[in-house]
């Protein structure tokens, strides 16, 4: 699949933003205007920049408002509705907390739940697609939620450390736990993806054409002479070339570095600069991880073009 930069930025940034919102809504912050203002602004900035970025890939942006209308059937519409409701509830919760000093626990809890529901709906946009076997798994929402929470805890620990709160160390410890959980889910996702193929999902060239029952099917003459929308969008080959290097970056920046930096912050000291560096590196790692999420995923339509087939062979239906 074509890794559209706007969608990569959207899923990573909004994931961290909504993760941080959930933690703040549950009351994991500390009193004090410095922390409260900075945390609220950071959470909003991540979520809103992410959501605005998602609008960039629309070809008719002026009609984006209609995307709130089909929540009964469409995960993309549900995601739009949930994100706006979450931002609204969290906005009211934050305003009351910042201006009047009252923490409305029930409202905060509702915003926290909705923040996680929003991340879930984002993941379901991809997990619902039977056309992309890599994505069509319950592990996909687990990975999105895991990284959202891990990014949120990491950002929370950095914000706590900057404002000098002693609870920063404990938050850093929890960030280590959250990173382990999220990456365990991602490891399971990668293991499943390695064993998943279009042929196994009944979407190889033999099943796509239905000719697999007759013998081995091979593209002979393409239907057009230069790449079309389908090939650019769904048979994207370029990003896969550097998959191994990108996976190393994802693991080094997204998992190992923030884990070690959070460990140093929790058990040695100098928490603020270490945790800020951890947040930045984690974000870089997440961008690489999300690039691969798109670039390595193969779409069923590639089968018609003979793209994404492991070997030319008769389909499973052939005797």
């Amino acid at each position: 699949m074509h890794p559209a930069f706007s969608v990569i930025v959207f899923t990573t940034l909004s994931g961290i933003g909504f993760g941080l919102m959930a933690l703040l809504g549950l009351g994991f912050g500390v009193p004090g205007a410095g922390f409260q203002w900075s945390a609220t602004i950071v959470a909003f900035a991540f979520a809103v920049i992410g959501l605005l970025s998602s609008v960039l890939h629309l070809r008719s942006k002026s009609r984006a408002i209609l995307a709130f209308s089909q929540w009964r059937s469409s995960w993309l519409s549900r995601e739009g509705v949930c994100s706006v409701v979450t931002l609204g509830l969290f906005g009211i919760y934050s305003l009351v907390l910042l201006l009047m000093g009252t923490r409305l626990a029930a409202l905060g809890f509702a915003a926290a739940v909705l923040a996680m529901v929003t991340v879930f709906t984002t993941s379901m946009i991809y997990a619902q697609l039977r056309t992309v076997p890599h994505w069509a798994s319950w592990i996909t929402p687990a990975v999105f939620l895991g990284f959202s929470i891990a990014g949120g805890v990491l950002a929370l620990s950095a914000l706590l450390a900057i404002s000098g709160a002693p609870s920063a160390r404990m938050a850093a410890q929890w960030a280590m736990v959250a990173l382990i959980v999220a990456w365990a889910a991602k490891a399971a996702w990668w293991r499943r993806a390695a064993e998943t193929s279009l042929e196994a999902a009944g979407s190889g060239i033999g099943d796509a054409t239905g000719l697999g029952v007759l013998g081995a099917v091979r593209p002979f003459e393409p239907p057009h002479t230069s790449p079309n929308y389908l090939m650019r969008e769904m048979a994207f080959e370029v990003g896969r070339k550097r998959a191994r290097a990108l996976r190393r970056i994802a693991i080094a920046c997204g998992a190992v570095a923030p884990f070690l930096l959070a460990g140093l912050a929790a058990y040695v000291g100098a928490a603020a600069p270490l945790l800020m560096l951890a947040v930045i590196l984690h974000l870089v790692g997440m961008l690489a991880e999300r690039w691969l999420f798109f670039a390595e995923a193969r779409h069923a339509v590639g089968s018609f073009y003979g793209i994404g087939q492991s070997v030319a062979r008769p389909s499973s239906q052939a005797a």
């Binding site: 699949m1 629309l58 070809r59 008719s60 942006k61 002026s62 009609r63 984006a64 209609l66 995307a67 209308s69 089909q70 009964r72 059937s73 469409s74 995960w75 993309l76 519409s77 739009g80 946009i125 619902q128 697609l129 039977r130 056309t131 992309v132 999902a201 009944g202 979407s203 060239i205 099943d207 796509a208 054409t209 239905g210 000719l211 029952v213 007759l214 013998g215 081995a216 099917v217 091979r218 593209p219 002979f220 003459e221 393409p222 239907p223 057009h224 002479t225 230069s226 790449p227 079309n228 929308y229 389908l230 969008e233 769904m234 779409h299 069923a300 339509v301 018609f304 073009y305 008769p314």
Partner: protein, 250 residues
């Protein structure tokens, strides 16, 4: 709403005979011609006369080589367009309500005035039936020539999809697949018409008729081939063959 109708009164669709299709691309060209001046935005082209021409087409004709285990390879021409699925995933994923399936005849359409060009429906379709128009910024797809089949302004024989009307080989057939007595339904029953990628669970209305089995030819190419060319023992060739076999060390 982008929810699907429980059932449709009719299931209008195409039956494509892969035994007959000669791969001339006339259906694709006729489709482009009709639909660029009909329903919705014209089908635009980019760099049409340049090095990398690209454009929106609602029908594409692939050609495949099929090699059976014991038999010669054959070429199958394969037109690919929207299958107007009963369980159309492109409709349910649509966030704006632009995509819909008509309850009266099962045709899947895009209301271009509501399309925001997110492209998710193209991702949801396993058949590559939807192409974004890069000029209009909206999703295009086969309309089953909805503006022809009910059009009282044109002669009755023209009230079929443009691709069907133009096919010089008569490989494309249009009709109601919900009616078991219709020509298309009979064809599907007689010839074993099949669904593409049934594992996707889309329940396509369009069906494909498989190429008929080839008559095996023992000595032809791809058969037993040159090894079976007989050398009668009493002939000069037979003597020469034996003599060469001695020199060969056999």
């Amino acid at each position: 709403m982008t929810t699907l109708p429980e059932t449709t009164n009719r299931k209008l669709g195409l039956v494509i005979d892969l035994d007959v299709c000669v791969g001339c691309h006339a259906c694709a060209v006729a489709c482009k011609e009709w639909n660029t001046g009909a329903y919705g935005a014209p089908l635009s082209d980019q760099d049409a006369y340049g090095a990398e021409p690209s454009g929106t087409w609602l029908n594409r004709v692939h050609s495949y080589e099929v090699k059976p285990q014991d038999g010669p390879a054959q070429i199958v021409h394969f037109p690919r367009s929207c299958l107007h699925c009963e369980d159309a995933p492109c409709v349910t994923v649509c966030p704006t309500g632009a995509s819909y399936k008509r309850a009266e005849d099962g045709i899947v359409l895009v209301n271009e005035d509501r399309c925001m060009g997110c492209g998710l429906c193209a991702w949801a379709c396993p058949y590559g039936a939807r192409e974004m128009d890069m000029d209009a910024g909206v999703m295009k797809k086969c309309t089953l020539c909805v503006d022809r089949i009910y059009n009282a302004q044109i002669p009755a024989e023209d009230r079929v999809p443009s691709c069907v009307r133009t096919c010089p080989a008569n490989a494309r057939h249009f009709g109601d697949l919900a009616d078991p007595e219709s020509d298309v339904s009979r064809m599907v029953a007689e010839r074993g018409g099949y669904d593409l990628m049934p594992a996707q669970g889309t329940r396509p209305v369009n069906k494909y008729l498989p190429p008929r089995p080839k008559t095996p030819c023992e000595t032809g190419p791809g058969g037993a081939g040159e090894a079976s060319v007989a050398t009668p023992p009493g002939s000069l060739l037979g003597w020469l063959d034996r003599a060469l076999a001695v020199i060969d060390g056999e």
